[in-house]
Symmetry: C2
Subunit: 133 residues, 2 copies
Amino acid sequence: MQIRIVAGSNAAIYKQIADQINRAVAAGDLEVGQMLPSVRQLARELVINPNTVAKAYADLVQAGIVETQAGRGFFVAKRRQVYTKTERMRRLDESIQSLINHSFSLGFSTEEVLDRVRELFAKALRGVPESTS
Amino acid sequence: MQIRIVAGSNAAIYKQIADQINRAVAAGDLEVGQMLPSVRQLARELVINPNTVAKAYADLVQAGIVETQAGRGFFVAKRRQVYTKTERMRRLDESIQSLINHSFSLGFSTEEVLDRVRELFAKALRGVPESTS
DNA sequence: TTACTGTATTACGCGGTGTAGTACAGACGG
DNA sequence: CCGTCTGTACTACACCGCGTAATACAGTAA
């Protein structure tokens, strides 16, 4: 697992890390039960503070993507439902509404956006790293 | 044109205003050339500071959605291209990548997301107000 | 015991948000 | 011309959350 962070990005470092792992899991590049690089090791590699990595991992735990065993490390978790059905839907809608607002102000049509969404989803599942949010 | 702001929202007030006008224009509820409520008047209505409304309007000008005529007011602008083609695309992709990240961590499939995007786009174009970003 | 692991606390800089006040300038109707 | 509406431009301030960092504490296992 190779994590890359972009210095001049508007995206926070911890978010870049979390996003890349999130996508790696979704794409199957990281398997259930597999151990993630340790907080300190990854921090050394990226030359950042261990807490920054810890925060990224904490977010992933919160999302149910990874699990932690104190003193042992972080591991890719089995998919489980973290939120209620309505909460899950509410959060998806929130993200979509944001996309809609941006699309409108950029002057894109529904179809243009849908096509591009389809395209980028496919690319993400083929394992291409990307960080934005 | 009726603007509603939600107090306990994580979205900034100026953003809620901008989003609602953005959508109203996209949905055709506000026509080209139509005058927006004045900064001071809308501020009085919503019981907020005029500067907050001005900031929302400034964002819309920046996005090319409305135009301003000093001393007269803000008016819905004719659609025009603000960004270069690549920059426009870059911004769209950025929003979509964000959606993809959220969708993955929520465990939604590509198809589920696409369906929902289609649905919410349709709803937005029917003129239902919404604020998120 | 040693050397790994994660955890918790605290602190600090920065920027976004919102408010407030004040002043200036263009538009327009009487 | 005057009054009153419009937007514009500053400055200042308080607040708060984000992002990062430094440091110390605690669990795990060879």
